[in-house]
């Protein structure tokens, strides 16, 4: 796992974070539920809690779909290519490429590969970008959520051991949970071995 330079994280007084969607996207509740599930995966293994807000002015994290140039100097590039990007804490900016075709999978399926396609699994990308919003950088561990690339049709939403160790390095474990060992065990059984590289 890795961090942003200087290892930024949300301040200890902020364990209850709020997120909001830019209104102009007019997202359905079904799409918003995908993000709620993605946030839950991180709150299960940390002391952090995430609540949806209707106000983008007061929310800690703002989520929006934008196409091409959208004002942050990092233009999107049409279908496939770059899928989304997110800022390090405590900025809370999460942008997804509005030119992608997104698949909303059932929550129960945690890993899978569709017949090769150019539709991208929304929850997989959301779980990854939330990792950045909380302070994680990219990982070389192929089955980690923070691995930078994902093929169209792939679905990877369960945190791997690498992800859990990285996020708990920043925030500690979930005081009410098993500290993530269960999530980590789950991902190890379903996700295959780590890439075999100790770093």
């Amino acid at each position: 796992y890795s961090f942003f330079p200087g290892k930024p994280r949300w301040p200890s007084r902020k364990r209850d974070l709020t997120y909001a969607f830019v209104p102009q996207n007019n997202l359905t509740d079904e799409v918003k539920r995908v993000f709620a599930r993605a946030f839950t995966r991180w709150s299960e293994v940390t002391p952090l809690n995430f609540t949806r807000s209707e106000s983008i002015l007061r929310a800690d994290i703002v989520i929006g779909f934008f196409a091409g140039e959208h004002g942050d100097g990092e233009p999107f590039d049409g279908a496939m290519g770059t899928l989304a990007h997110a800022s390090s804490p405590p900025t809370g900016m999460f942008h997804l490429d509005g030119d992608e075709d997104w698949l909303i999978s059932e929550g129960e399926i945690s890993r899978g590969i569709l017949p090769v396609t150019s539709v991208v699994d929304l929850e997989s990308v959301a779980v990854h970008e939330i990792g950045h919003l909380l302070g994680l950088g990219h990982s070389s561990v192929e089955n980690a959520i923070m691995y930078p690339a994902i093929a169209g049709g792939d679905r990877k939403v369960e945190l791997a051991k690498d992800d859990i160790e990285g996020i708990q390095h920043l925030y500690g474990g979930n005081p009410n949970g098993d500290g993530g060992s269960q999530a980590s065990r789950r991902s190890e059984t379903s996700g295959g071995a780590e890439s075999g590289v100790d770093s």
Binding site: Y1, S2, F3, F4, P5, T28, E30, V31, E74, F76, D77, G78, A79, M80, G81, T82, L83, A84, H85, A86, D101, W102, L103, I104, S105, E106, L114, P115, V116, T117, S118, V119, V120, L122, V125, H128, E129, H132, G137, H138, S139, S140, E142, P148, A149, I150, A151, G152, G153, S195, V197, D198, S199
Partner: protein, 125 residues
């Protein structure tokens, strides 16, 4: 567009598996140091975007020369993605490059904490 289940995805998508903003890179397979190949400047922009080439000149000044800067970027990229470190544009490296990905860079200010930036404890087996 949002598809709520696989069956709602129109067949075209199953055919356009490699439809990607970067699929033109695949024609660079086999290039190596010293060559000048049309399209290498765009690949350098890709590596610049994800932090593998840190240069003060604006991205559009890149040349089509396969130079040391590009070879170094390829080496680091191959380390980060657990590929055989050859410094060349072999097929497996380009297959990885064209995959859709997160827009956040892998390297910031020329340093990475992915494989390439870590003291790896690996034993040759």
């Amino acid at each position: 567009k949002f598809y709520t289940n696989v069956s709602s995805i129109p067949p075209l998508h199953f055919l356009n598996a490699t439809r990607s903003a970067w699929e033109t890179f695949e024609k660079l397979t086999g290039c190596h140091v010293g060559e000048k190949i049309d399209g290498l400047s765009k690949l350098k922009q890709y590596f610049h975007r994800f932090g593998y080439i840190t240069t003060t000149t604006a991205g559009d000044n890149f040349t089509d020369d396969f130079d040391d800067v590009l070879q170094s970027a390829i080496n680091t990229y191959q380390k980060n993605f657990n590929l055989k470190v050859t410094g060349n544009l072999d097929a497996s490296t380009l297959r990885q490059i064209v995959k859709p990905r997160c827009g956040n860079p892998d390297m910031i200010d020329g340093t990475s904490e992915m494989n390439a930036g870590k003291k790896l404890r690996t034993t040759e087996r």
